[in-house]
């Protein structure tokens, strides 16, 4: 009950002191101006990076959802960069530069989940967390040095200095986790206030936990399970608890924006799933791609890439699983042309020449500009000759 009351209070105070926009510092001699100067430079480099996706439609979509939750005035101070990177992440710089990774867009089920994370990042900006963090680092290092001097004068052994350093950094990490929790609350409030379904913020972390639990890598399966005092962020399960407590205190809207989200992401689906495979975490890929299909992305596309994950995983029986997925994909909506190449390769290796030839031909017919066109034409020629003999 007390917990419930506390979270209600937090929710109420945050609603009333709604997040405000930050302006460029006027006094150029301050620590804040220094942070902005550094980040402006970083942004200058990022702006022209090949990793930035500058497609106006996708940018307009992400911007629209952001502005819907922050309000126009605050939103005008933000510059959002979508980065092609198959990782669940987003970041916020003190000068208003927000970066959103493609892996985050791919993993969001709907507008609401994306809004929770974007609102969280915006919360860092609105509350000047970078500046606070830097000031905290400065004051922490000051008292650490003071204590070290005192310890040295008191004749304590040098190990004492190391202990002081450890305590100082642990306190700093704890402080950082506090900022993350605060940003989570802001993200939740902005999202809920914009009439999105209040449960979706906790779902972001539930999905991430499930994906990690399905990883091929032990380190990733164990990630975020136990408390680590050196963590910069709270544990996902603690974040879920906080967010669920907030949701319980709020009479939720019903909007999720699922269809809009799927429509905005679908043009990038193939490209981004292909990028996910690069991490070679195939078990987690298979889990994610199956999820994407269940969420309403074109099933032919998802099945083809599940097949790809099997093909690349190369465990006992994976070849047959891959072929089964590709054959299933062929009957589904949204299947990419590459499925015909994948099957053609398989048939060629199995010496099913006529099937291979037909599939290669379908591949080129559907994808006449394919990068590997010359190679495929060579295969077609060879197969034609072999079949003629």
């Amino acid at each position: 009950m007390i917990k419930y009351l506390v979270s209600t209070l937090i929710a109420l105070t945050l609603f009333t002191t709604s997040a405000y926009a930050q302006s460029r510092p006027e006094d150029q001699s301050t620590d804040e101006a220094g942070l902005w100067y550094k980040m402006d430079k970083y942004e200058q480099a990022l702006k022209n990076s090949g990793a930035v996706i500058d497609d106006p439609e996708l940018n307009a979509y992400v911007r629209r959802v952001t502005c819907d939750i922050t309000g126009q005035e605050a939103c005008d101070k933000l510059r959002i960069y979508i980065i092609q990177e198959p990782i669940f992440n987003a970041s916020m710089a003190p000068n208003g530069m927000m970066t959103v990774y493609s892996g985050l867009l791919l993993r969001s089920e709907n507008e609401a989940q994306m809004a929770c994370v974007l609102g969280h990042e915006y919360g860092h900006f609105a509350e000047k967390h970078s500046l606070e963090g830097w000031r905290r680092a400065k004051s922490t290092s000051q008292w650490m040095i003071g204590l070290q001097f005192a310890a040295a004068f008191a004749g304590l052994p040098p190990e004492m200095g190391q202990v002081i350093n450890q305590v100082g950094s642990l306190l700093f990490y704890r402080y950082n986790r506090g900022q993350e929790t605060e940003a989570d609350t802001i993200g939740f409030n902005l999202t809920a206030k914009a009439d999105y379904h209040a449960d979706e913020c906790a779902n972001v972390w539930k999905n991430l936990i499930s994906e990690n639990e399905n990883s091929s890598f032990k380190s990733k399966r164990r990630r975020g399970k136990w408390f680590n005092p050196y963590s910069t962020h709270p544990l996902p399960k603690d974040r879920i608890n906080e967010l669920e407590a907030l949701a319980a205190s709020y009479s939720s809207g019903q909007k999720t924006g699922r269809d809009n989200h799927i429509a905005a992401i679908t043009p990038y689906l193939e490209n981004w799933m292909k990028a996910e495979l690069l991490a070679r975490d195939f078990d987690s890929n298979i889990y994610l791609f199956e999820q994407l299909k269940a969420r309403g992305f074109p099933p032919g596309m998802a099945d083809y890439y599940v097949g790809e994950a099997y093909r690349l995983r190369k465990e006992e029986g994976d070849r047959a699983r891959a072929v089964a997925m590709w054959e299933k994909a062929m009957t589904q909506e949204g299947v990419p042309a590459s499925v015909h190449r994948a099957l053609a390769e398989h048939y060629r290796k199995k010496d099913r020449k006529a099937d291979a030839l037909a599939s290669y031909q379908t591949y080129l017919a559907q994808s006449p500009q394919a990068e590997d066109r010359e190679l495929i034409l060579a295969y077609i020629n060879r197969l034609n000759k072999q079949l003629a003999n």
Binding site: S29, Y37, N48, K138
Partner: protein, 230 residues
């Protein structure tokens, strides 16, 4: 007490004795200076910070901005009377996508050159040569300006805070580590036809060559451009 005084004197001597130095390098690739050529000068990439008592450095926007302005003006003055002309270009101003990438590439090559050719981490294959290049695509930097060279300048530096000075004195007295700030100006002249860095220099600022004021920047640029080949 006498012992403390002794350390104080040593610390003070160290603080005052830092004097300006330069280290010029000339390409070992084939290079003939084109004396009447136009040189494109990009506004320098500057970051100046305060070195605090705790050893942390904090960027100062005002110092960095005035450092950039002063160095740019000093470069203009110093190179105004050369036979070839100069064009000053703002490194952040809108250029073609290719030019932006070339400026970023140049920054990366400059950093690499500093790390391996200047700060003692020499590469075994680069022992007897100085052969850094951004490649012949460099000509795209010229655009329709007709420039044959471009001069890229990088400035980094930190200045001790009052607290740091006091801390150094205390540390010296206790026999602990001391840290001083310092400022460096690094320049590379790029032949836009080959992309080679044909000349480069790393100048360390003397106490009277503070780039935060125009006079100091003039002095620092003078030592930077010693042996400038054009």
């Amino acid at each position: 007490m006498r012992q403390y005084l002794f350390f104080f004197v040593i610390a003070a001597a160290l603080l005052l004795s830092a004097c300006g130095t330069t280290q010029t390098k000339v390409t070992t690739n084939e290079f003939v200076a084109k004396p009447d050529a136009i040189t494109l000068i990009y506004t320098p990439n500057v970051e100046l910070s305060v070195l605090m008592a705790t050893g942390l450095t904090e960027t100062r926007a005002d110092w960095s901005t005035s450092g950039q302005e002063n160095i740019t003006n000093s470069l203009k003055t110093a190179l105004a009377n050369r036979s070839g002309g100069i064009i000053v270009r703002d490194r952040n101003e809108t250029q073609t996508a290719r030019q932006v990438q070339l400026v970023k590439l140049t920054d990366a090559v400059l950093q690499t050159s500093l790390q391996y050719d200047y700060y003692g981490r020499g590469l075994p294959t680069q022992k007897d040569q100085y052969s850094r290049s951004i490649g012949p695509g460099a000509i795209n930097l010229a655009g329709d300006s007709g420039a044959k060279y471009s001069l890229m300048v990088l400035a980094r530096g930190s200045y001790q805070s009052g607290g740091k000075v006091a801390m150094n004195i205390a540390m010296a007295a206790l026999g602990g580590p001391v840290q001083f700030g310092g400022q460096n100006l690094y320049a590379a002249l790029i032949d836009l036809e080959t992309g080679d860095i044909v000349w480069s220099n790393l100048a360390t600022a003397a106490p009277d060559a503070d780039m935060r004021d125009p006079g100091g920047a003039d002095k620092l640029v003078q030592s930077l451009l010693k042996d400038f080949p054009l």
